[in-house]
């Protein structure tokens, strides 16, 4: 989770694995939106000598739908290239790396950023916003990367077009008790009540010492909305953006090292995508996950059954006998989950709020940009009374696992059927995890510096 290794095929291809997507109104620059897509999940910080990188043969994209058709009106594309200064050493660096141009750094990566408007129209408008934009190195240790914060800061590029971008290694902002949830749906607060009970124990943050690669972009809101406006009316449809990340590979690859040849050919083919956290992970059955990754949000009607009748909601009463009796009796289609994940919440459900994009069922992260950043963010987002958080977009510290587990357990069903009473246990579900201070940054790119391999040799 959120979608780390969530599908059989992409789990074998981590550089193209879109593990998480975040989108929020930037708290310190509230006339902008920050979008972050993460790849190469579950990195052990000590993973050298070939430290982690983006794929030169992968096309990474961030898609924005601003008119509710579940098709992108704006796409940002990131394509990478790796340069090797000295092929005759096995070392990633031959001395301390003190800057992004330090000759001691042997294997560096750059990227080209392209913005495409109306990519699905007859006349897409393409604009290259930056070339040879430098990534920071991976965080190796005190001898190799003695001032990592400075290297990370130097890799924040402010473009003349108004965007601010960063691409490189970070610590994984996503926190989750992976070991528990995938051990037959164990929920640590209730593990003594599980079908196979164990003694109560605190939650374990499985990703707290792992790194990831982030692509982050901060864009003026007026560059993303349908008519270039900066919406202030929360109830206006123009205020809602649908956002998702994706990665594509060329259709064919030729490997022939005898001829010193490794070539790609054909069009780009999408191999991974991510809008809402946990969608493919939890709501799409194993046999369909690869197809979901290759498909487009506009076709998510194909996967709506997994939202309307989620398997996990049926399993919880079985795994926790007598704990979720009301959920067990709830056999109706989950219109609440469909609204949260596939259409956005329409007006009239949550007073003073909506993030609805219309009737097309599509897994997109929906962000109402007219909702200002919260002065004191609640990691439980909207169900915690904080409309600036998930499922209104997603901030880096939102506890999406707890939010979605509670929703699936029935907490949000009264939004569409006031006669339904959620089980008491549903609103008690919690991961019990609090990310350590310093895991996040207060300014762009908001995701914190990666852990170094010397001090964090293994998780």
């Amino acid at each position: 989770m959120s979608s780390h290794r969530e599908a059989p095929e992409i789990s074998q291809d981590p550089v193209a694995d879109n593990a998480d997507t975040y989108a929020f109104v930037s708290p310190d620059v509230p006339d902008t939106v920050t979008i972050i897509t993460n790849y190469v999940p579950l990195q052990s910080p000590a993973g050298g000598p070939n430290f982690f990188s983006f794929g030169d043969d992968v096309l990474y994209s961030i898609n924005i739908d601003n008119n509710g058709d579940a098709l992108p009106e704006i796409t940002y594309e990131f394509s990478f290239q790796t340069e090797l200064s000295n092929p005759n050493t096995f070392l990633y660096n031959t001395g301390p790396i003190s800057s992004l141009s330090d000759p001691n750094w042997n294997m560096r990566q750059f990227y080209t950023l392209t913005r495409i408007e109306n990519p699905c129209s007859d006349n897409p408008q393409t604009c290259v916003l930056g070339t040879m934009l430098a990534c920071p190195p991976c965080n190796i240790g005190p001898r190799s990367t003695p001032d990592y914060a400075a290297l990370g800061a130097a890799a924040v590029h402010k473009l003349s077009s108004g965007e601010v971008v960063f691409a490189g290694q970070r610590n994984d902002p996503f926190f989750v008790d992976l070991g528990s949830i995938f051990d037959l749906g164990d929920l640590r607060p209730f593990e003594n009540l599980q079908l196979i009970p164990t003694a109560a124990a605190p939650g374990v943050d499985a990703t707290k010492a792992l790194n990831i690669h982030s692509i982050a972009i901060q864009v003026p809101i007026s560059e993303l909305t349908v008519d270039g406006c900066k919406p202030t009316n929360v109830m206006s449809s123009k205020a809602v953006l649908g956002i998702w990340g994706a990665a594509s590979r060329r259709k064919m690859r030729l490997r022939d090292w005898g001829q010193q040849e490794c070539s790609d050919a054909g069009p780009w083919v999408q191999v991974s995508r991510l809008g809402n956290p946990l969608f493919n992970e939890v709501l799409v059955p194993l046999g369909e996950k690869d197809r979901w990754n290759a498909s487009q949000p506009v076709n998510d009607q194909d996967f709506a059954a997994g939202v309307q009748h989620p398997e996990l909601a049926q399993l919880l009463p079985v795994l926790y006998p007598k704990v979720f009796p009301n959920l067990a009796a709830l056999t109706s289609s989950r219109a609440d989950l469909q609204a949260i994940l596939l259409t956005g919440l329409p007006a009239g459900i949550v007073p003073g709020f909506q993030n609805n994009t219309g009737t097309v069922l599509a897994d997109m992260l929906r962000l109402n940009v007219a909702v200002p950043p919260a002065a004191s963010p609640n990691p439980l987002g909207l169900i915690g009374g904080d409309a600036a958080g998930f499922p209104n977009g997603r901030r880096v510290a939102d506890d999406v696992v707890t939010i979605e587990l509670r929703a699936i357990a029935g907490v949000t069903y009264p939004l569409v059927d006031k006669s339904y009473t959620p089980d008491a246990a549903a609103s008690l579900i919690t991961q019990g995890l609090t990310p350590a201070p310093g895991r996040y940054l207060s300014t762009f790119p908001y995701v914190g510096d990666p852990y170094d391999g010397y001090d964090t040799p293994s998780s």
């Binding site: 080209t112 990519p119 699905c120 897409p124 259709k251 790609d264 498909s295 076709n299």
Partner: protein, 128 residues
């Protein structure tokens, strides 16, 4: 264009964002102009026709017909003569459907499926 039509298109062919981005030149093999991801053009089958230059890989005696798009079922295909210089990128091809005599050719970011019984048979013979 109805949303149903658009939907069926998008379902058949996953969006290929790079395929419409000539601006990626210098990275990978994007220097070859790619056919635009164009709903109307796709539905009309014009994308494949534009890619007819890759016929050179079959040699001068191959009489191939552009089908119009990777999953197009266009049947009124016309013989297309090679035009322009040979592709500089690696060209790859595979027999997509032997029963339908379909061969798909990939060059740069282009993908074209031809219905060509002679070429299909020659490839199948070569694979024996």
């Amino acid at each position: 264009m109805s949303s149903n039509t658009r939907r069926s298109f998008l379902k058949a062919i996953p969006l290929t964002p790079g395929g419409r981005t000539a601006a990626l030149a210098g990275v990978g093999e994007a220097s070859t102009p790619a056919p635009a991801l164009d709903r109307r053009a796709f539905l009309e089958g014009s994308v494949g026709v534009a890619a007819g230059a890759v016929l050179v890989i079959g040699g001068p005696h191959v009489a191939s017909a552009a089908l119009g798009g990777p999953t197009s079922t266009r049947t009124d295909a016309a013989i297309v003569k090679p035009s322009g210089p040979p592709p500089s990128e690696t060209v790859m091809a595979y027999v997509r459907d032997a029963a339908k005599s379909e061969v798909t050719v990939l060059s740069g970011q282009r993908e074209t499926t031809y219905r060509d019984p002679q070429l299909t048979q020659r490839l199948l013979d070569a694979a024996r």
